[in-house]
Amino acid sequence: MEENKTIIEALIFASDNPLSADRVAEIIPDVKKDEINRLIRELMREYEERRGGLYIQEVAGGFQFRSRENLGSWINRMKGGKSLMLSPAAMETLAVVAYRQPVVKAEIDRVRGVDVSGSLRGLLEKKFVRIMGRKDVPGKPIIYGTTKKFLEVFNLKDLSELPTLRELKDLKNET
């Protein structure tokens, strides 16, 4: 493939936003605008003719690689399986449960300083946190703890493998 075309292809591919021909011209100033436009059209046509899983789309004043629309359900299937991500809020709630368990919700609320109902529910759904029982005190509050899945996902043999705050602080001592 012609070198300028490979450069343009790589630029479109790696760009975080749709890449305009003007921007390409700024990056490779030796190549004329017309020529850049021609090469982009050529690339688009190639991907079109190839009929593979991706193509170049003109969008928002620029060009961008995309996966074919009719394959969206497969991609959703891939992304859906990846529930192994947590929002920072969920991570904090999980941290309090992990280190302070067995723990009641009021205590998690207190430590985090917010109502954790939402993130706690999410963690229960993801099966990182479970209901361990109830306390025999007024109101019979629910007690929460972590699950086996939690250990699995975080790659821990048991809870004693969780790093302690002391160990975290030791790492902070910059040399």
Binding site: S15, S87, L94, P102, M132, D136, L165, R166
Partner: protein, 239 residues
Amino acid sequence: MGYEIKLDIFEGPLDLLLYLIRKNEIDIYNIPIALITEQYLAHLDMMRSLNLDLAGEYLVLASTLLHIKSKMLLPVEEDEHDEDEPDPRDELVRQLLEYQQFKEAALKLETRPLLNRDVFKRGFIAETGADYDDQEMAVELNVFDLVEAFHKIISTVEKGDSLEIDVEKMSLTEKMNDIMERLTEKGDLTFAELLGVSGSKMMLLYTFLAILELMRQRMIRVYQGCSFGVIRVCLAVEA
């Protein structure tokens, strides 16, 4: 010449020592310890005079060098100098070679085609129909983030709260979780069943402590049918 420029780029005392050995074109297996010690100390002085932060490790190695030097100066009787007598430099040489091995490996790693420096993956894409949620905000799961999250929270919580955690406490917690799980499953268990085949004395102790803690927190109840009868343990509140 060029010392001053080099001073702050040593990655530690071993790195400085390797530099001196290379500069003097010395056989690493036969280091003239007096010469190297002298140059090493001169470098430390220079670093000090430039107010560079001298990590304690530099001084430790200085004293090691001086110690080896003094050992080398001890008169050795001819017939005493046999093969069994280890060279006082051996340990240092081994350490230097090992360090050099990794220093080289580090340089080699850096010459690989690195992601985001030499090669790039695709930029962000917004697909049609794909539910991206707050994925950009989301963090990957690892234990380090978990302990950091906890640290962040408790450093804002009032002091005096006994939030310190240690390995023992978490071992106990592990045991408590285990007991609660078994009780939820089985309804109730005898004391003996719970202590059961806990294995080591240590595990037995943890199990016992866990039972006490769960009682204190009113999460389980322990009762005895009659004196000398079987001690039974059950959940404080029916599941």
